[in-house]
Amino acid sequence: MNESSSGSLYAAREPIFPKRVSGTFRRLKWWILGITLAIYYITPWIRWDRGPSLPDQAVLVDLAHRRFYFFWIQIWPHEFYFVAGLLIMAGIGLFIFTSALGRVWCGYACPQTVWTDLFILVERWIEGDRNARVRLWNAPWSARKARLRLTKWLVWLMIAVATGGAWIFYFADAPTLLRDFLTFQAPVVAYSTVAVLTVTTFIFGGFMREQICIYMCPWPRIQAAMMDPDTLTVAYRDWRGEPRGKGMRRRAVAAETYAGGETGGRRSPVIPVPGLAQAAAAPVPARETPGDCIDCNACVNVCPMGIDIRDGQQMACITCALCIDACDEVMVKIGKPRGLIDYLALSDEPRERAGEPPRPIRQHVFRFRTLLYTAIWAVFGLGLLWALFVRPEIDVTVSPIRNPQFVTLSDGAVRNAYDIRLRNKHGDERPFRIVLPEGSGLALTLEGASGNEVIVPADMTALHRVYVTAPAGSAPASADASPVSFRITEPVSGESVEVGSVFNGKGSE
């Protein structure tokens, strides 16, 4: 029965009680969960020595001083293209993975999936596996139910606080912030960030779960556009499974494995893709022998989205592959080959129906589309690496002041002004020497300084106005525009750059 038969356009969320499962993909997911969570929680606490006047936190987004520190890399606001580049790479990386492996991001790495997995783990640990949880759900309120619920919510809340709490450490010195946070001296924004992230984590991981993916997240829609018939995705081999076996013996085996399995998963809308979905819905030809599916509902019971993969590929499926593990376990028990539910490409369906083996995985994964994405991704990656390693340690820009283009002095000499921006990325103050090349006939003076050396404090940008004067009647003074170049040297490191600009003379009037 479909819940819409009531005719209502709105329906309450149906609770889902995913059953425990073990297998290859579950193990992989536990590993990914552990590693990603560890990265998230530990990263802000890694120290990295950058000298006395710079922060010693390996990964730090210092919004107040507009710096981003990532281990040995330090990014200034004017280098924000690094961040843009990384975001583009992340986007194209998602293209690669989605076109090759469908919604792997959703199934394995998305924070929504990872935290929901963690929350379900807690839930199972406190309230028991699927059947116990269903019973508890249906049971009237009692002291035991209240105790279990409160314990569960408390643990969830602790995880949620830790999640929100870890986030803020990326934006300030972690140990200091932790101390301030605990002694109520941290800035208000720290508390409000933690509060918001705590509430969202608690609600999204504990109560919203699959609703986030089905109704709120834009990714499924975007991902659908990146998939094609060669994309490997979780699907049911209905040509092998149908008609579903109802035999007593099979039931008995299944009952041994999955005692008390429920029947009837929630149907979610089937995406009308050509091929698989229609095949699933089309009438199945009667066969002499029943198919491999014993209708034990193991795949339905483990599904965190509460759907039945045997209805075909569908919008709600995040390709977490847990149904593969569940089904494989059953297939082993009944002595059939694994893979009734498996990573499949739609394009293989006709071959498989004809009894031929599917094409090898690498032919699906390495095809023009994915290789093209990889190439684009690599171009960005190499570009960023190149930019990272060739960018000079002393960073200088010279901007001629154009209002006015030049000034005539009382002796008839012509003077141009330039704003020179000197960026010192070192952890200590550095002198910078600004000179014009020998024999240019031009004179250089610095506003507010005698000599031609200026000191730039550690990790700072200094703006200095310099004047270049051409004597009356000299070529640059009477020409329209002539080239001029500044040599800027940082004597401590011996680094030196030459920056060209333009000198405007009276001819430009």
Binding site: N2, N403, L409
Partner: protein, 288 residues
């Protein structure tokens, strides 16, 4: 349209019973919390419209229970900035500019603040880049009519030049020689002035003009034509001309004289603002 619900055979999903040109609308129910979210936003919207300015009326809009306005927010922000700057601003107002060190926070504050004061009050005549124009002095060069030290500049800003508001305004008046001398005489003086500044000139006329210059002009512009800052008399030997140094312009100046006026800023700007704009102008490249 018929209201009877039917099941779609392909998807097994109920339809809403609506059908247009053979296309049926499936009913995959939305979650109920979605609906509640919608109601929630409506309630929020109503509350927002009550709490904040919302409904346009003839004379503006409803002001909202919280009394919030963007204007008020800007005013509060400006007040906060002023409060933050009060101390350094007071230091600047009381400072002796001539001895204020360049790395003093009050100096830095003055230069940046002075730039803003300049843009708002001075750029109309002197230009956004302070390069002036015909009749409006260029503040970037090294020539000053009334002096280019910090004290001189501050005095000029505070009292202005040749205005009627401030009795202490800098004042001088060049006579209009068109009423006293003949045209040929004026032409001879003009040639002499061109010669003084090393421009192309008629040597014979300039020679004759030298005597006329000594008689009529030297009292203010000096024997050698190097000017006199006490009277704001320009140096005629340099390459800088307030009203252009062409033969025509010089002749016009001698004939009809010039009378450039600058307002007194003392009554309009605060002490700190005057000192700030003084520091700003002084560090533009010509300060003495």
């Amino acid at each position: 349209m018929d209201d009877k619900e039917t099941r779609d055979p392909v998807t097994g999903v109920d339809t809403t019973g609506h059908e247009w040109d053979g296309i049926k609308e499936l009913n995959n129910p939305m979650p109920r919390w979605w609906l509640w979210t919608l109601y929630g936003t409506i309630v929020w919207g109503i509350g927002y419209a009550i709490a904040y300015p919302a409904w346009p009326l003839v004379q503006g809009a409803t002001s909202g229970l919280l009394g919030y306005s963007t204007r008020g927010e800007v005013a509060a922000e400006i007040a906060a900035v002023d409060a933050r700057n009060a101390e350094v601003s007071a230091t600047l107002a009381a400072a002796d500019l001539a001895t204020l060190p360049v790395d003093d926070p009050a100096y830095q504050f003055g230069v940046s603040g002075g730039a803003a004061v300049f843009r708002a009050n001075c750029s109309q005549c002197h230009g956004a880049g302070a390069a002036g124009g015909v009749g409006y002095p260029n503040l970037l060069d090294d020539s000053w009519l009334w002096g280019g030290t910090l004290d001189d500049i501050e005095y000029t800003v505070r009292h202005g030049i040749r205005n009627e508001i401030d009795a202490d305004a800098r004042f001088s008046q060049m006579p209009a020689f068109g009423e006293m001398l003949s045209k040929p005489e004026i032409a001879e003086i003009a040639e002499h002035v061109l010669a003084l500044s090393g421009q192309e000139h008629d040597a014979a006329k300039a020679e004759a003009g030298a005597t006329l210059f000594a008689d009529n002009c030297a009292s203010c512009h000096g024997e050698a034509g190097t000017g006199d800052r006490e009277q704001g008399a320009p140096d005629l030997t340099d390459a800088i001309w307030l009203y252009s140094g062409t033969r025509e312009a010089v002749t016009e100046t001698i004939t009809n004289a010039r009378f450039g006026v600058m307002p007194a800023w003392g009554p309009r700007l605060s002490d700190a603002e005057i000192k700030a704009v003084t520091l700003y102008v002084h560090q533009l490249g010509g300060g003495e």
